[in-house]
Amino acid sequence: MVTISFSFDTQYGKFADAIVLPDDHTLTDAEIEAIKQQRLDNWIAAVTAPPFEE
């Protein structure tokens, strides 16, 4: 497995994640960057969602 750790500093705090891929993965650098951005977008959506009230 290949682990690509990455992080973003945002106004909502630091987002840290990793993309874990098989050794023989075929993703291009651009595709990996797109995954990073997608992860960030998903995180921002989660942390800025209206509060969940039980």
Binding site: Y12, K14, A16, A18, P51, F52, E54
Partner: protein
């Protein structure tokens, strides 16, 4: 322990079907269904060609040791409505070509350390549970549970000291009995619940983490732990209770961006070794309040450094540490504070307007120390706010739970206060005859620390609470609730209510009315004053006292349109009269009451237990019989003289002689009552009104 590979594309993962399980990648099906000891693999040979496939879990929970989904060449969906998945080893989801749609709980129950959880951006659809004694799990990527929670039953969860991976969840729940540890390293943890980390006992190694709590209200946070950086990030917070004696590195509170006041209350002292930040509001009516959870009990905030802050109210807060004393802009002083420099008290006026207006507003607002409104003139808890004759014609809405100092209505013509909130008043409160004070939802609380004079000469439409430790709220006028106001409620929590000869009249037809006590040290000083209600409920009799003052006052129980009336005395001593003006009055608890009396109506006293009286002034009249049932009445000395009573199961005792009167009826079960007139009070031919005095 064996390996099990999924083959053949879509299928059902249940407890019996073997056609999709193989002992090798791309091998033949027919291997046994994986057990909790088996490693399960989904890979590029699990499907047919590169086609998408769905594995539908059934029969909850599905179990395995390690679950590895990797190297897919077609999109896989792991499905199963409400089906749980229990993983005894590690979990790896792939970064691409994978959907998680199953909605059951995922449980990690390893009992050894060294397990990893790599979700690769895949969010869980339900809570995840860690329940393995001595188990240890380290994140291999960020963990996202959306609105679901992490439940720590047993074991250690580590966010990875190498990756410091982010965690997003509703809450982290720890109120369980196992041994649990949470290592947060340098991670950002975002929690959306109103109870972000519950108060279970567990080991929190905060590292250099950042915990962001995004809820708009918090039932509690803290529980006496050591945190690193914590931020409360909502811009629309309402309330937050910080429990326990916590230590923070940095503590940050994002101020409101809307009209209102956010109340942070502390149940214990707090230490902030770094910086205490309150982001600045953009309007004086966007306020934050820091207060003790118990009014009158100070909490110390020991703070190394504090940001430049403004539009904050403080109550029972002691500022300490290198940052003290604190200064800022528009600091409101609600009492009980130390180490904080407040703005000097000012007098502000409601500026003339032609329409209704709000107490708190954006822009320039509606308050002025001169003639023009200015946001900086927003009235604080130490200020005096005056509504003059030249002020608006219509109404003023107190539109948030603001802390109000002295409020004076000078305007003599019709004027309406409308409460869409529950304000707290710290100074004198004066209205005029034509001032209506109408609450649709909130309670008006009087919470000064010394003397507050309340003059409400108009009809009142708001529940009242008196929570004024060390203070006295003195009525300068009677308070009359509107007959049709549904929530006629007065709560005495702490401090002295000095009736000052005035009457709190809670009579009405809309519903019953209640005067009640709450936990705190409180006193009613009557000075001849009266409380009229349908229910008197001394719900918190501890530290409740009454004082007669200049003359005997009374608690008058009425039944309005609802028949019954109740006096829950709480076993306290009442240095006043208890007057029954109801058609039925139930008196509960072992009370000591100075005087018991009644109105000249047909009525019933139902004594549930022993009541000790000094003066028994209960008597009926022709056609207005007073019924006495149950309980024991005790009077130390003297002669009781009643008449026209109808008595059942009543014991009269204590040393006094209890004459029920010649026209009273003994219905049985009575002790101590003498069913005659007292000697010398016989009425008849030759009317004797005293020994040796014969008339006629």
């Amino acid at each position: 322990m064996a390996d099990r590979y999924w083959v053949g594309g879509s299928g059902t993962w249940n407890g019996t079907t073997t056609t999709r399980w193989s002992t090798a990648s791309g091998g033949s099906g027919g291997a046994s269904v994986p057990t909790a000891a088996d490693d399960v693999f989904f890979d590029g040979n699990s499907n047919t060609g590169t086609g998408a496939f769905t594995v539908t879990m059934a029969t909850s929970p599905r179990v395995c040791n390690n679950l590895t989904i990797s190297g897919l060449d077609g999109t896989m969906t792991l499905a199963g409505t409400g089906i749980g998945l229990t993983i005894s080893g590690s979990l790896t989801f792939p970064a691409t070509l994978f959907n998680r749609t199953y909605t059951g709980v995922t449980t990690f129950n390893a009992t050894t350390t060294g397990k990893t959880i790599t979700t690769n951006g895949v969010a869980f659809g339900q809570n995840i549970v860690f329940d393995g004694a001595d188990g240890g799990w380290t994140l291999g990527s960020a963990l996202n549970l959306g609105t679901n929670s992490i439940l720590m039953y047993n074991g250690t969860l580590d966010t990875s000291s190498a990756g410091n991976y982010s965690v997003t969840a509703s809450s982290i729940q720890n109120s369980f009995s196992g041994t649990r540890t949470l290592n947060l390293n340098g991670s950002t943890v975002t929690l959306s619940s109103s109870a972000p980390i519950d108060n279970g006992t567990f080991t929190l190694n905060a590292g250099t983490s950042q915990i962001n709590c995004s809820s708009s209200s918090f039932a509690y946070f803290g529980s006496g732990r050591s945190y690193y950086n914590v931020a409360f990030t909502s811009t629309a917070k309402t309330t937050a209770l910080i429990t326990g004696q916590n230590t923070f590195n940095n503590l940050s509170v994002t101020n409101r961006t809307t009209i209102g006041i956010t109340k942070f209350t502390f149940s214990a002292n707090q230490t902030i070794n770094g910086t205490f930040t309150v982001t600045n509001s953009t309007a004086s009516a966007y306020r934050t309040m820091f207060a003790s959870d118990v009014i009158g009990t100070q909490r110390t905030l020991t703070v190394n450094a504090i940001s430049s802050i403004r539009d904050v109210d403080f109550r029972d807060i002691a500022a300490a540490g290198a940052s003290a004393s604190w200064s800022g802009t528009r600091f409101g002083d609600c009492g009980g504070n130390s180490g904080i420099n407040f703005d000097a008290a000012k007098t502000v006026y409601l500026v003339p307007a032609t329409t209704t207006t709000n107490w708190g507003a954006t822009g320039s607002g509606c308050w002025s120390i001169g003639s023009s409104a200015s946001a900086t003139d927003f009235p604080l808890a130490q200020d005096t706010a005056i509504i003059q004759d030249v002020s608006i014609v219509g109404s003023l809405t107190i539109n948030a739970d603001y802390n109000i100092g002295t409020l004076t209505v000078e305007k003599t013509s019709s004027f309406y206060f409308t409460l869409s909130s529950s304000p707290t008043v710290y100074g004198n409160f004066t209205t005029q005859t034509n001032t209506d004070f109408f609450s649709s939802v909130g309670t008006t609380t009087f919470a000064g620390r010394t003397a507050q004079a309340v003059y409400i000469s108009s009809t009142f439409y708001s529940p009242i609470e008196i929570n004024s430790p060390t203070g006295t709220v003195t009525l300068s006028s009677s308070i009359s609730y509107s007959n049709d106001f549904g929530t006629r409620l007065v709560t005495l929590t702490s401090g002295t209510l000095n009736l000052n000869g005035q009457t709190i009249s809670m009579l009405g037809s809309a519903s019953g009315s209640t005067f009640q006590t709450a936990a705190g040290t409180k006193n009613i000083t009557f000075n001849g004053g009266t409380i009229q209600c349908t229910t008197f409920n001394n719900a918190e009799p501890t530290n409740f006292t009454t004082t007669q003052g200049t003359s005997e006052g009374k608690i008058e129980l009425t039944s309005d349109n609802f028949g019954s009336s109740y006096f829950y005395g709480g076993g306290s001593t009442y240095n006043c009269a208890l007057k029954n003006s109801a058609t039925y009055l139930s008196i509960v608890d072992y009370n000591t009451i100075q005087t018991i009396s009644n109105s000249n109506i047909t009525t019933t006293f139902d004594f549930g237990s022993l009541n000790t009286v000094t003066n028994w002034n209960v008597t009926g009249s022709v056609g207005k019989i007073v019924t006495i049932i149950n309980g024991t009445l005790s009077k130390a000395s003297g002669t009781v003289s009643s008449d026209y009573l109808n008595i059942t199961y009543s014991t009269a005792t204590g040393g006094a002689t209890w004459y029920a009167g010649a026209n009273s009826v003994n219905n049985g079960g009575n002790t101590g009552w003498i069913f005659t007139a007292p000697p010398g009070v016989s009425i008849g031919t030759g009317i004797t009104i005293g020994p040796g005095i014969l008339i006629g």
